[in-house]
């Protein structure tokens, strides 16, 4: 029965990661990714010919160019030819595809990367194009306005309070204090600037390896003990905006509740979404350890989710955490959710 948690057949670990985010980069996508891909290959001593599978995530809507990911392969170097795949999604889903490929037993090592460079265009407009093409997208609602719909529903139903938003903003570092939070004018009422993301250009590269190989490449591999992704309805008119059943289910299937979580790296672009995710995944509202970085402070469409996995792995490598959760989201208002549990122990 699929209802029961299926033990992964092969143990796979994150063994190296590199990332970079800046508000506006003058490098093109290739120049941005070469140093990151080079860094993870150097760290592990792997040549591209040693890597079994390469998988990436990005969006042509950000680049403003068809098949833009093909050009970014210049940063990988597909000579001699490589086994490669791409998802038009956050790199966390490229990570999932790669994990499945490991389970198929056809690879022992993999390179996963993703990137987003929203600065050449208008991300607010790009995000509008992911909405229902007949009834919503032609109205061009901006992302903050859509997030505001969810925020007001949550506030007026008393599921979260404005005080909680203020505390969350302080925790994420978008403001120094509650006073500063409340002094901000409304940006997309009921959301203030401190509740909304700052967009950044950036990318992430990562090497994965199977048990037996991972230990050779990394002193303390960050083992994937569970991973799952689920989707809610696309048209948010049919969704209860005060709940995220897909995040709840993905967390359950990834085995989040099988043990204590030391670090939770959540991909939340808004304070409201941070609070909602904590509730759905069953995490404390005030975590013991803060995230290593917050998407709300630097959100890179297509890379923020994979960056959460990289940060969770860094928590394991630094022995800051023994068990870390990474979450990624895509689509409007937390429509799709991926949850991954990493552990310092392979069992």
């Amino acid at each position: 029965m699929w209802g029961k948690k299926i033990k992964p057949m092969r143990k796979v670990a994150v063994v190296a990661a590199a990332s970079r985010q800046e508000e506006k980069m003058l490098d093109n996508e290739v120049e941005m990714m070469v140093p990151l891909i080079t860094e993870v290959r150097t760290k592990t001593g792997l040549d591209q010919t040693d890597i079994g599978f390469t998988c990436s995530g990005s969006s042509d809507f950000l680049a403003g160019q068809a098949f833009s990911f093909v050009m970014t392969l210049d940063a990988v170097g597909p000579v001699p030819p490589i086994a490669e795949s791409h998802v038009e999604m956050d790199g966390a889903w490229a990570f999932y595809e790669t994990w499945v490929k490991f389970q198929m037993g056809v690879i022992d090592t993999a390179l996963v990367y993703s990137y987003g460079k929203p600065s050449p265009g208008s991300l607010q407009d790009v995000l509008s194009t992911q909405l229902d093409p007949y009834y919503i997208a032609p109205l061009w609602p901006d992302a903050h306005a859509v997030a505001g719909l969810q925020a007001r529903t949550l506030l007026e139903q008393g599921i979260i309070t404005v005080d909680q938003l203020a505390d969350c903003a302080v925790r994420a570092g978008t403001v120094e204090s509650r006073e500063e939070y409340f002094s901000q004018p409304m940006l997309s009422d009921p959301l203030r600037k401190a509740d909304c993301p700052t967009y950044a250009d950036g990318g992430v590269a990562m090497i994965l390896a199977v048990e037996g190989k991972a230990e050779e490449l990394c002193e303390k591999p960050a083992w994937i003990t569970g991973i799952d992704h689920r989707i809610d309805a696309h048209h948010f008119g049919v969704r209860d905006l005060t709940a995220v059943p897909s995040a709840r289910l993905a967390a359950e299937k990834a085995g989040v509740h099988d043990g204590p979580i030391d670090i939770a790296e959540l991909h939340a672009a808004y304070t409201t979404q941070d609070l909602l995710l904590r509730k759905e995944i069953g995490l404390p509202e005030t975590p013991n350890h803060s995230q290593r970085s917050y998407s709300i402070k630097a959100d890179t469409l297509m890379a923020s989710g994979l960056l959460r996995i990289a940060e969770a792995a860094r928590g394991i490598w630094d022995v800051q955490a023994n068990r870390a959760l990474a979450h990624a989201t895509a689509g409007p208002l937390l429509q799709q959710n991926l949850v991954c549990v990493l552990s310092g122990e392979s069992n």
């Binding site: 490098d27 093109n28 120049e31 403003g64 392969l73 170097g77 050449p120 093409p133 007949y134 997208a137």
Partner: protein, 184 residues
């Protein structure tokens, strides 16, 4: 087509068969370091290539990385304005949006000293005389029309010098230092 039943109030109304939702998005292109350096010098009638740090192959025009190996190339080199034809195609049908006299020749031009080619037009040459290995030189736009654009060179014309041997024409970058991994 599937039969669709509609409320009787819509009887006789012309059916909607398509919906138009125009999308327009504007971008400010970020060329990156390599393309920017290349285009700035191209506006000064200089052609720049980059040198691969892996095997010394000369790549023109620069794209930021040696796309065979994923290695950044930051060493620029000025190229001559002469080269040879690596391959070519004669087009006999008009293309919408392009005002070119038919037939016209598009060719892969390999600059002297370059290991990869690029696409450009060849003119002042009857199509039946065009051949792989033929030596050509750049014909630039008038100075006052030159800018940071790939359109600076109008076309390439034959120099009249002897051809380079057929076997030596075309893709060479793959051979440099890696005889066993050639794609040619």
């Amino acid at each position: 087509m599937t039969e669709i039943s509609v409320p009787s109030s819509l009887d006789g109304v012309e059916p909607v068969q398509s919906v138009r939702t125009p999308i327009r998005m504007e971008y400010t292109f970020t060329p990156g370091v390599a393309a920017q350096t290349y285009l700035r010098e191209f506006a000064n009638k200089k052609i720049l290539g980059v040198v691969s740090p892996v095997d010394g192959a000369v790549l023109v025009p620069p794209r930021g990385a040696d796309s065979r190996h994923g290695a950044l190339c930051d060493e620029f080199i000025e190229m001559p304005h002469t080269g040879h034809i690596g391959s070519f195609c004669v087009t006999n049908v008009p293309i919408p949006g392009r005002e070119l006299d038919l037939p016209y020749i598009s060719a892969w031009i390999f600059l002297d000293g370059a290991d990869i080619g690029f696409l450009n037009l060849v003119a002042e040459c009857p199509p039946e005389e065009c051949r792989i290995g033929m030596r050509v030189e750049a014909v630039w736009k008038p100075d006052e029309e030159i800018g940071m654009t790939a359109e600076n060179i109008l076309y390439w014309k034959p120099t009249g010098e002897p051809d380079i041997p057929f076997e030596a024409a075309g893709v060479r970058g793959w051979h440099v230092g890696k005889e066993d991994q050639t794609n040619a």
